[in-house]
């Protein structure tokens, strides 16, 4: 089979949509400071407000409920920082409710912020997940005591693709008197998201996960919600996020969601079909595999799989040599000694976590890519197993 490059790591980041690229190139001409009153400034301001409208309408929000931030991580940090606001500079203190409820499978930008809150004597509860990576809503209900100010639960997991019932979780949080935040970085642009229907107070978006540029994200803040800026300075974003706006990034994000609105539904159907072909092909060609993530409540293009006796980094690098890009939950590839906290949390044996591979499809992937993968993966797994201490053929 002829060598090709196949990008199957769209949950890590996505290539720019050609339409976004075009908008960015055009946007390079716009240099005015959007806070300036003259024509240059007004032009930049106009573009930013257009983008804000697009982001808002994509998730069913009002424009003034969207603020632009530097990344998904910044958005998540901003929301969780409300818990230690002491009301001296704003009026958002959550009436003594300083506790946080989150889950064990959050992105590190939530988990590490939560740990930091814990070190500062906030009560933090980490909800466990079942073998598919879903939380137990009853456990959530018990966790939301009158000390809890915020519940933060990711909408879709980056590693295994599992989608939570955010609407039900938000309802439970609100019944308990807490605010609700969802990190929807992996969900927005892949599945329909409507903030009014979900009734969340805060929601995080990242542009580079939906074919937009890096270094730009958005935070939805429901009208009337307590809010406290993380970055202090000028009056940008209505005083909610200081720093001169990243006009170019914002233009890119606006274009990206505009295009997602047009293409998402059809495309995700196609990706689901491709994923199922890939999944069936792997199951047929490779014995002793374990598929992770929820069988139904899962992102259409995300496939998480583990191969007994084969270590993830070795799989990743052999695939890389064949031109295929995936990611792994193996400790070896993470820079730490711990395998994926997400996969471990689902109760999968640790050796499966070391041998896990995430294949995440995106808009540029084709059936040819899937077939190329199915051509290369089985011999690679076989090769690794041949030299493994941990695999014997039956």
């Amino acid at each position: 089979m002829e060598h090709r490059t196949v990008y199957f790591d769209n949950n890590a980041t996505t290539p720019l949509h050609p339409g976004v690229k075009e908008a960015l190139i055009e946007g390079l001409e716009i240099f005015g400071n959007p806070s300036s009153m003259h024509g240059f400034g007004r032009e930049a301001r106009e573009k930013i407000e257009e983008a804000r409208e697009k982001v808002a309408s994509f998730i069913g929000a009002e424009a003034d409920e969207i603020l632009f931030v530097g990344s998904g991580s910044e958005a998540n940090n901003t929301v969780l920082s409300l818990l230690h606001c002491d009301s001296t500079r704003c009026f958002c203190a959550l009436s003594g409710r300083s506790g946080l409820v989150t889950t064990v499978i959050e992105h590190p930008c939530v988990l590490n912020t939560a740990r930091d809150l814990g070190r500062k004597n906030h009560a933090v509860t980490y909800l466990s997940v079942d073998k598919y990576g879903r939380i137990d809503l009853e456990e959530l209900r018990r966790a939301v005591t009158d000390k809890v100010g915020m519940v933060s639960i990711m909408m879709a997991n980056n590693e295994i693709g599992t989608i939570q019932d955010i609407k039900a979780a938000a309802r439970i949080a609100h019944e308990g008197g807490a605010l609700f935040h969802t990190d929807a970085v992996q969900a927005v642009g892949k599945i329909p998201v409507d903030v009014r229907d979900l009734d969340v107070d805060f929601l995080t978006i990242s542009a580079h996960k939906l074919y937009g540029p890096k270094g730009i994200g958005a935070l939805y803040v429901k009208k009337g919600s307590p809010y406290c800026p993380l970055i202090l300075g000028g009056h940008q974003e209505n005083g909610r996020r200081a720093g001169t706006e990243n006009s170019l990034g914002i233009i890119g994000l606006g274009k990206a969601v505009e295009l997602r609105a047009l293409e998402m539904e059809e495309e995700e159907k196609r990706l689901l079909e491709l994923k199922n072909i890939l999944k069936d092909g792997i199951a047929k060609a490779i014995p002793d595999t374990l598929f992770m993530g929820h069988p139904e409540h899962c992102l259409p293009g995300t496939l998480s799989v583990s191969f007994v006796g084969a270590e993830g980094e070795a799989i990743l690098l052999y695939l890389d040599l064949a031109g295929i890009a995936v990611s792994t939950g193996s400790a070896c590839a993470s820079g730490s000694l711990d395998p994926s906290h997400v996969i471990m949390a689902t109760g999968v044996p640790v050796e499966n976590a070391h041998g896990s591979v995430r294949i995440s499809l995106g808009r540029e992937n084709t059936l040819d890519d899937v077939q190329y993968m199915l051509h290369h993966l089985p011999p690679i797994i076989d090769r690794i197993r041949t030299m493994s201490t941990a695999y014997r053929r039956r």
Binding site: G309, E311, G312, E313, A314, L317, L321, S330, A331, C332, A333, G335, S336, L337, P339, V350, E351, H354, T386, M387, S388, T389, A390, Y391, R392, R393
Partner: protein
């Protein structure tokens, strides 16, 4: 294409591993050594054939569960030892393997440390099977922290992974987070390994 993660030597041995043990010839070997475990992400098994008169290694095969550098380091070790006397092979250190591989990223060093241990275990296995128990030098890993079952080997691995302070060691191994009695001993073991491997 951007530069590869590892040296060309590592890449070569990863792409074309030498001396992999096939399933059918396990019984032909005179000494077998196992180290690491799958739970930690790396496990290596080294098999040697020995000339009983000259006490030299005539063949070395292996199996490894682990990442690219683990595979490459066992592969290159198997090439290094063929023809060596058992004493020479016994003296091979992680540093020697690293040098042959043209280096590894810091966080990968613990992988290659396993190969030399598996080899020493294989040599000891040979000694044990051939009435030369007196030559066995491997002492089992000693438990330093009873509560968390952390051994001196664990501390050595942590040091090789870049740990330099006791709090870093605790983050990595949970050592001394139970009763706390081992703190003093654990710190001195850690300092010994830092001295041994990095001369600091």
């Amino acid at each position: 294409m951007a530069k590869w993660t590892y040296s060309d030597k590592v890449k070569d041995h990863f792409m074309n591993p030498r001396n992999i043990l096939r399933e059918d010839n396990e019984a032909d070997f005179h000494g077998i050594g196992l180290t690491g475990n799958i739970k930690c992400g790396d496990e290596m098994m080294v098999y040697i054939k020995v000339n009983p008169d000259k006490l030299t290694i005539t063949d070395c095969k292996w199996r490894t569960y682990g990442c690219a550098s683990a595979i490459a380091s066992t592969s290159i070790l198997s090439e290094m030892v063929i023809g060596m006397t058992l004493d020479q092979a016994y003296a091979i250190t992680a540093k020697d393997i690293l040098k042959e591989l043209d280096g590894l990223p810091d966080n990968k060093v613990h992988c290659s440390v396993l190969g030399d241990k598996a080899l020493r275990a294989a040599i000891d296995d040979y000694y044990g099977k051939n009435g030369m128990e007196d030559r066995i030098r491997t002492k089992g890993a000693k438990i330093v922290c009873e509560c968390m079952q952390v051994t001196d080997e664990d501390i050595e691995h942590a040091v090789l992974d870049g740990v330099r302070s006791f709090s870093e060691l605790q983050d990595m191994t949970k050592i001394g987070t139970g009763c706390g009695e081992c703190h003093e001993n654990a710190q001195s073991v850690m300092s010994e390994y830092i001295q041994k491997h990095f001369g600091l």
